[in-house]
């Protein structure tokens, strides 16, 4: 009995400890973002890494999600003779929900993991200590450019995902299901409001922050050599994905 209670207690302590580290790192990042020196070259490099290099993954994910969504809703809606709503469902679902969440999860797998591995390797090979010894704050040099890149680039990736998801739905509806292209386009925009777009973009920025900060924090607190780096990488992806999915609900509740 004591062992079970001890284990539950240990899990709770660990969750609180990790949450504390996460928010403390967030606060440090905010403080160090506005301090000199600003490393513009590193900021740009990270933006390319998070944004430009993620384009192929986003293209494939968003396009096929839009296609499968159109296909599924078409099959379902035909049963109740409501095929004309397929376009609206695809566009609303992509903008409000699917594009931000899927882009967030895909970029977590691609970028969040590599950030945890990179910073974790720096930790176990004393490169983080070397940064400090060279009078450079690791939060400013490592965290800030990565997190800024996440917050800035995710909304752009989500805009691309929105567009491609809607286009993927259009391709299926028009080319496979023989829907009138003009009617489909009209239905796509008919029920959309600017708020649908904005809320998706706000979510994207929040997910960008979550995935980059989690990757950085997991890497920074790596212990135990190569095995530790592997563990940090896995934990970064699992934690960031879970936080994205949980926060998605609360953001949706706040934003709509």
């Amino acid at each position: 009995m004591t062992t079970i209670l001890e284990r539950i207690g240990f899990v709770f302590i660990r969750v609180f400890e990790q949450t504390g580290l996460w928010f403390s790192a967030l606060w440090d990042t905010v403080r160090w973002t506005f301090r000199r020196p600003f490393d513009g070259r590193e900021w740009l490099r990270q933006m390319v890494r998070v944004g430009v290099d993620s384009i192929p993954v986003v293209v494939l994910t968003a396009m096929f999600t839009g296609m499968v969504l159109a296909l599924q809703t078409f099959i379902g809606f035909r049963r109740v003779h409501a095929e004309q709503f397929v376009a609206s469902v695809v566009s609303l679902a992509m903008l409000r929900e699917l594009s931000p969440v899927l882009v967030g999860l895909m970029v977590t797998g691609r970028v969040g993991s590599s950030m945890a591995a990179e910073i974790g390797t720096m930790k176990v090979t004393e490169q983080i200590d070397a940064l400090k010894a060279l009078a450079t704050e690791p939060v400013q040099y490592l965290f800030v450019p990565r997190i800024v890149a996440g917050v800035v680039m995710l909304p752009f990736l989500v805009i691309l995902g929105d567009f491609l998801g809607i286009y993927g739905g259009y391709l299926i509806a028009v080319k496979m299901m023989n829907t009138n292209p003009v009617v489909y386009q009209q239905n796509t925009y008919q029920f959309l409001t600017l708020n649908d777009l904005w809320s998706g973009l706000i979510k994207a920025a929040a997910f960008g922050l979550i995935l980059t900060l989690t990757g950085c924090v997991r890497g920074y607190y790596t212990t135990g050599g190569a095995e530790g780096v592997g563990r940090a990488t896995t934990n970064a992806v699992v934690s960031a994905s879970l936080i994205i999915l949980l926060s998605d609900f609360f953001l949706t509740k706040i934003l709509f």
């Binding site: 490169q127 070397a130 010894a133 060279l134 009078a135 450079t136």
Partner: protein, 251 residues
């Protein structure tokens, strides 16, 4: 008053006490080598001197500033007075040799790129390296990595140089070259130098004073000559590298 004073430092990791009321004074311009077996807290001592670790108890006073009480930002600025070379070099593997050495110059000075290039070349000259500017750390041998680490450590012309196990894992000839290099840099730059090592040959070659760390405390210190004549059985066993003696009896 000594330039570097470690006063009654204590540090515990996961219930294991690594430093136990450890104290040592180092004068300006002096070269001190701290020796001791693996896991005796040599690296921990060095990391306390530069403020990478905070002691559980005790003070680290550098040039009359207690760095254990400094706020993080002030300590960060203060570290510009240090140059530290790490065990495996700790070179940034996302950068080439040139960028590694230029890193502190670009970050902490307003030097033009031409001046930075000249300074990097000068630092590489000091460590007797040529034509390696564009190489990545992974393309360098162990000895070369250490030397690039030295060059990076001296690039901001520090007052205090710290060497963490500068010869570990190197063959005896390269170890001797590295020891010569430390002596040369010491002479040329006139820095206060603290080296930690378990290589007694290196210790006797570079040190003005050798101190031995054992069980979290300095148990012996003196000039290389005095140290070699120590009658302390622990020191004797360590110098002679014998398997039998008080060091191993306790283990």
């Amino acid at each position: 008053m000594a330039f570097i004073e470690l006063r009654n430092l204590s540090k515990t990791f996961d219930g294991k006490q690594v430093l136990r009321d450890m104290s040592i004074d180092i004068d300006r311009g002096e070269t001190v080598v701290i020796v001791g077996g693996s896991g005796t807290g040599k690296s921990v001592t060095l990391k306390h001197i530069i403020g990478l670790l905070k002691p559980d108890r005790g003070q680290v006073i550098i040039d009359e500033h207690d760095i254990t009480k400094m706020p993080e930002l002030a300590l960060n600025q203060f570290r510009r007075r240090f140059g530290m070379s790490f065990q495996e070099g700790a070179l940034f593997d996302s950068m080439n040799v040139y960028e590694n050495i230029a890193f502190p110059l670009r970050r902490h000075t307003k030097m033009k790129e031409a001046d930075i290039r000249a300074r990097v070349e000068e630092c590489l000259e000091d460590v007797h390296l040529h034509g390696v500017e564009k190489k990545r750390p992974s393309e360098l041998s162990g000895g070369m990595r250490r030397r690039v680490g030295f060059a990076r450590a001296i690039s901001l012309k520090p007052e205090i140089l710290l060497f963490d196990e500068p010869t570990t894992g190197l063959d005896p000839v390269i170890s001797d070259i590295i020891a010569e290099l430390i002596c040369e840099m010491d002479m040329k730059l006139g820095t206060t130098t603290v080296t930690i090592t378990h290589d007694m040959k290196v210790a006797f070659k570079v040190a003005d004073r050798v101190a031995m760390l054992y069980d979290g405390q300095i148990i012996e210190q003196g000039t290389p000559e005095q140290f070699q004549e120590s009658t302390n059985p622990i020191v004797r066993q360590f110098i002679e590298g014998r398997a039998e003696g008080p060091l191993t009896d306790i283990d």
